[in-house]
């Protein structure tokens, strides 16, 4: 199936299709087919080229036949929020892989085949995401996606929940912040205002809540628009789905509990902690639940700079531990230091058990973009069910180095990467992967020169005026940095630069202007800042420490509810799994045959109807210890097949008792009875019983048994037949025939009517006549006349000889007979070794054949032909040996030997 041209047709001019795949979108345990395309806009259409987006199409037909089948369901811009993860935790590489595409609140889970194409597609998305992450300047606007968004909404019922197109930017984190103005999501919101009941809300604090409610709780797709006739298929990788479903239901089993988080930052200018830190760390009445304390310029020694080795680390850690709130006990979660940057995360002892998956990372952005005098140190952790990241940064210094600071900021976001080693296959996390992010540190942003006396205003407390010229605030408002982050109102004096051990502005020659270098920003829902302040009492550095207190809503798992929901998910999965098991109905489980006659086939039919929801692969399977799936007298066609839901398959069961199977049935070793096991792949088994009566026949009976039957075969009681076929019969006739009477009838008939018939034994008989001859022989021949033509009688004779369970030359003498062929006297020796009645039969037949040759002028037979025809039926190899391959190669030689054997007796005797 080639999707590319159809998808191409759906694109607007100037937009290029990068990659496309067909995938199963998992919705509520079911997957439905979607076509996912990665498209790119040509660089001429936007200011900065390379903007890309994912289009998700619903399809009316699978496979897709034309562009008409496709309708756009969702448009997801590839921006910094887009994440694409492959779930590789499934042990089985044969199953589909799960591809998780998330963008803000939108989570789409796709099952894609484990293939080259999938691999290429995911690589393209990751590449596109990387391109975006490396971009500089304001975030892309994605205005070129508007036509797609319109088409995706117009095709859907605007009233149905979840029909709202989802854009990359899902409006979360917009609340009230100036950042949201001109934001991508807002643009789109306005463009689509017709579909929103109250578009005005888009720019308000409620917007995120509002749109969330608009979206269906699952995946934001209206289910009734799924094209009919496309049967959904059950999901494959169960464990991944449990994880996914549990993540989707997180709200239902977690409670938001308020935790207080203390975040502090201080550039200590290389000083040692000669003062207590309580005035910074323990000024509040109640102890915080979590402390994140960041330092910069902890150590200015070259030793620290070059070897990242500092005695100050322990000094300051001790100072922190002595300075934190005395009311309760804390435990250190992590300490991370890079040269002068150090971050310490502590939690109250009682919370430690609920802190998991801690990881740290450091990024140096100093000289050569790697030295650790500038950069960031970070700690990430999960507190209960909320992921939290603390970043302590020290950005480039100096008034004029604004762009360097911006670049350091970008670099920290790009390069910080946490490797969680809980399972080797969980992808590393970046700063942006966290629900709560606290970004603290000496950002070094200054106040731009203006017509005010900065020192005077800074001292006066008229901060609002100064903040208009503050670089960080300006850059953030311009969306250059800290996109979507928030900062509280600054109500404290600039924290830089003071004369050490005083509250006086820098009196040195350099006379640095005051600046709010030391800042704390945050990202995430359910975080409220309670305090944002500096602590000028601490005077040992040229910076003043800053701290902020946050009230953070942490998701705490309620075990009872978690368990209940987990069980619900399991139940639902079970239910689905059971519903999607292959189901068939068969029209009968008992097949009763009409009486079965030798060599006369009978066919019965079984109808298998797929009454389930999934395609069925059925197969008749072997029972334990059986070699084949049915008895040799039965053949099943097809014995294995594929049925789509609602379809049927007729299976023919043909019963044929031939020369190979007749003897077993005659002797009672086998019966016309079999239980067939019809197995549905991945599902149940059905048993089908097949029963019938076999009308025993002289065909397939042994010479030794037949010579003791002096009544028509049909008149001999079954018990006696079985007895005669046994190894040591109890009831032998006192007057056995020399040869079976049936043989005599056949030969006599040919002798009387066929000696002069041209083509005897080479001209085929009629099957119908052969059946009549068989019945006549079994029921008793009247007036010594057999029905049918001589050719039919001739064929019946050959069939009779071939159906003998023990050939005329018994299996035990088979090899001896072949070995004797070079020499007639050896052949005669073999004949002398035959059991009496077998020898009688052989000699009787040879006499008859010689008689035929006496009339060769009329019947045009020759010794070679007769020897060949009779050799192959008189001398037979037991079927157990005949199968091996090297035998088959010698087949021609063997046939020639058989012919030679008989030929001797026709010509030399």
């Amino acid at each position: 199936m080639e999707l590319t041209p159809h998808v191409q047709e759906k694109l607007h001019a100037g937009h290029k299709l990068t990659a496309v795949v067909e995938a199963g979108l998992v919705q509520d345990f079911i997957k439905n087919t979607r076509v996912v395309a990665l498209i790119e806009v040509a660089s001429t259409h936007v200011k900065q080229g390379g903007e890309q987006a994912l289009l998700i199409f619903q399809t009316a037909r699978v496979p897709v036949h034309s562009a008409i089948d496709l309708s756009i369901e969702q448009v997801i811009a590839v921006d910094t929020n887009l994440k694409c993860e492959i779930d590789t935790s499934s042990l089985d590489v044969d199953t589909d892989v799960l591809v998780n595409i998330t963008s803000g609140k939108v989570r789409l889970l796709f099952e894609m085949p484990f293939s080259q194409r999938t691999n290429a597609f995911v690589s393209e998305i990751l590449r596109a995401a990387e391109v975006v992450s490396k971009r500089r300047g304001p975030p892309p606007e994605f205005a070129w996606l508007q036509p797609y968004q319109k088409s995706s909404t117009s095709s859907q019922d605007p009233a149905s929940p979840g029909s709202a197109p989802t854009t990359a930017d899902t409006l979360d984190g917009l609340g009230g912040d100036a950042v949201s103005l001109g934001d991508v999501s807002v643009d789109i919101c306005q463009n689509l205002s017709s579909t929103y009941p109250d578009p005005a809300n888009c720019n308000t604090e409620n917007s995120s809540v509002h749109t969330e409610n608009e979206r269906s709780p699952d995946l934001g797709v209206n289910r009734h628009s799924i094209a009919t006739g496309l049967s959904p298929t059950p999901i494959a990788a169960r464990e991944s789905h449990i994880r996914y479903q549990m993540a989707m239901r997180e709200d239902a089993y977690t409670d938001i509990q308020e935790f207080t988080v203390f975040v502090g930052t201080w550039n200590v200018n290389g000083r040692s902690p000669t003062v207590g830190l309580a005035e910074w760390l323990a000024v509040d009445a109640e102890p915080p639940d979590v402390y994140a304390i960041g330092f910069q310029e902890l150590d200015l020694n070259t030793e620290a700079f070059l070897f990242n080795n500092s005695p100050k680390e322990q000094e300051w850690l001790n100072a922190v531990l002595n300075g934190i709130h005395p009311k309760t006990k804390y435990r250190k979660v992590r300490l991370v230091r890079l040269v002068g940057m150090m971050l310490i995360v502590l939690v109250q002892e009682k919370h430690l058990a609920y802190v998991r998956n801690c990881a740290i990372d450091t990024v140096g952005t100093g000289i050569m973009n790697k030295m650790g005098n500038k950069g960031a140190v970070s700690v990430r952790l999960d507190l209960h069910n909320t992921s939290i990241c603390f970043v302590n940064a020290h950005l480039a210094a100096h008034q004029e180095e604004l762009e360097r600071r911006n670049e350091d900021h970008d670099c920290i976001f790009q390069r910080t990467c946490f490797h969680l080693n809980i399972t080797s296959n969980s992808p590393p996390k970046t700063i942006k992967d966290h629900e709560h992010i606290y970004f603290l540190g000496d950002m070094n942003y200054r106040i731009n020169p203006c017509d005010m006396n900065i020192r005077e205003v800074a001292s006066s407390g008229e901060f609002k005026l100064l903040l208009q010229h503050e670089q960080l605030t300006q850059q953030k408002n311009a969306k250059r940095i800290f996109h979507k982050f928030k900062e509280g109102n600054i109500l404290f004096k600039p924290t830089f630069k003071y004369d050490v051990d005083s509250d006086e502005w820098d009196s040195s020659e350099k006379a640095r202007q005051p600046a709010w270098c030391d800042r704390i920003l945050w990202y995430g829902d359910s975080i409220t800042q309670l305090e944002y302040r500096s602590h000028p009492q601490l005077q040992i550095s040229d910076h003043k420490p800053v701290s902020a207190i946050f009230m953070a809503g942490i998701k705490v798992v309620d075990t009872r509810r978690y368990r209940r929901i987990y069980e619900e998910v399991m139940k639902k999965l079970d239910k689905l799994e059971n519903e999607f098991l292959p189901q068939v109905t068969i029209d009968t489980t008992e097949i009763i045959l009409e009486p079965v006659k030798f060599y006369q086939s009978q066919t019965k039919y079984l109808t298998i109807a797929n009454t389930g929801q999934v395609p069925v692969q059925f197969e008749f399977i072997k029972k334990l210890n059986d070699v084949t799936y049915c008895k040799p007298w039965l053949s099943i066609r097809p014995y294995s097949n594929f049925i789509t839901p609602g379809e049927k398959c007729d299976v023919s069961l043909e019963v044929l008792v031939d020369k190979q199977t007749a003897a077993q049935l005659n002797s009672g070793v086998d019966q016309l009875y079999d239980i067939l096991v019809l197995h549905l792949e991945g599902g149940k088994d059905l048993f089908i019983t097949i029963t019938g009566d076999y009308e025993r026949s002289c065909f397939g009976s042994s010479i030794n048994a037949l010579v003791h039957m002096n009544k028509p075969f049909r008149d001999v009681p079954v018990a006696k037949l079985i007895d005669l076929e046994s190894k040591q019969p109890k009831e032998l006739s006192e007057m056995p025939y020399a040869v079976p009477k049936e043989l005599w009838y056949l030969v006599d008939h040919l002798h009387s009517h066929g000696l002069q018939v041209k083509g005897l034994f080479t001209h085929p008989g009629l099957q119908k006549e052969i059946f009549e001859i068989r019945t006549c022989l079994d029921e008793g021949v009247e007036h010594q006349v057999l029905p049918g033509s001589v050719h039919s009688v001739a064929e019946a004779l050959l069939l009779f000889i071939e159906a003998l369970p023990e050939p005329v030359i018994p299996y035990s003498l088979y090899q001896a007979a072949l070995d004797a062929t070079p020499n007639f006297s050896l052949c005669k020796e073999v004949i002398n070794k035959l059991p009496d009645y077998h020898r009688n039969v052989f000699e009787y037949l040879m006499a008859f054949l010689k008689e035929l040759l006496n009339h060769a002028e009329d019947n045009t037979l020759d010794a070679n032909t007769l020897a060949h025809v009779f050799g192959s039926v008189l001398i037979r190899e037991s079927s157990a040996v005949a199968g091996s391959s090297d035998r088959r190669n010698q087949n021609q030689a063997i046939e020639r030997k058989k012919q030679t054997f008989v030929h001797h007796f026709l010509m030399n005797d």
Binding site: I422, V557, Y562, M570, L581
Partner: protein, 205 residues
């Protein structure tokens, strides 16, 4: 995390183990094998349950404290003529429920034969449960509880009287089996770790 341990601590570092087991139901025709499964899996009961001709297959999950047990249930045909096919289903099974009807002494005798066959031919570690079904028909009881219990004890079988009709002990017998099954990787058909958060105690503050 796991190494921290302690009563107030999360268990297993947020790992939940799922183990899959094959379970087979055996017993005389019409003792209620399919009804037990239907009750267990779907919570339903049909007064006139069709006779099973074949081996029905369903799955059901049981959540234990530390692990999740997923049963692949094979409900076999009870009619004698299908007896020879039973090994196909109990072969490789980690658990079996041998069912009899408490109102029919013959079915109890047949159940004992099944137990014997399992002990001889099934996997040596198979967990066998004996279910005296139709316990709701106590007034027609022909098999005494004590008799069956004694037999079960002698043969180290789990034993419960059950009623698919009233649901009595149905979940319980499967749960008891789930608990008794060894959860190591080499015992189950497959085991995998599920990375979800499980806390033994949720009280934190």
């Amino acid at each position: 995390m796991a190494q921290r341990g302690g009563a107030q601590r999360p268990s297993g570092g947020g790992q939940g183990k799922i183990c899959q087991f094959k379970l087979v139901l055996l017993g005389e025709s019409a003792v209620g094998k399919s009804s037990l499964v239907l009750r267990f899996v779907k919570g339903q009961f049909h007064e006139y349950q069709e006779s099973t001709i074949g081996a029905a297959f369903l799955t059901q999950t049981v959540c234990l404290d530390d692990t999740t047990v997923k049963f692949e249930i094979w409900d076999t045909a009870g009619q004698e003529r299908y007896h020879s096919l039973a090994p196909m289903y109990y072969r490789g099974a980690q658990a079996a429920i041998v069912v009899y009807d408490i109102t029919n002494q013959d079915t109890f005798g047949r159940a004992k034969t099944w137990v014997k066959e399992l002990q001889r031919q099934a996997s040596p570690n198979i967990v066998i449960a004996l279910a005296g079904n139709k316990a709701d028909l106590a007034n027609k009881r022909m098999v005494e509880y004590e008799e069956a219990q004694t037999y079960a004890e002698e043969n180290s079988l789990l034993f419960m009287e059950t009623s698919a009709k009233t649901a009595m002990n149905v979940n319980d017998i499967f749960l008891a089996i789930a608990k008794k099954l060894p959860k190591s990787d080499n015992n189950a058909r497959s085991c995998w770790m599920l990375q979800v958060i499980t806390f033994k105690t949720g009280e934190t503050m």
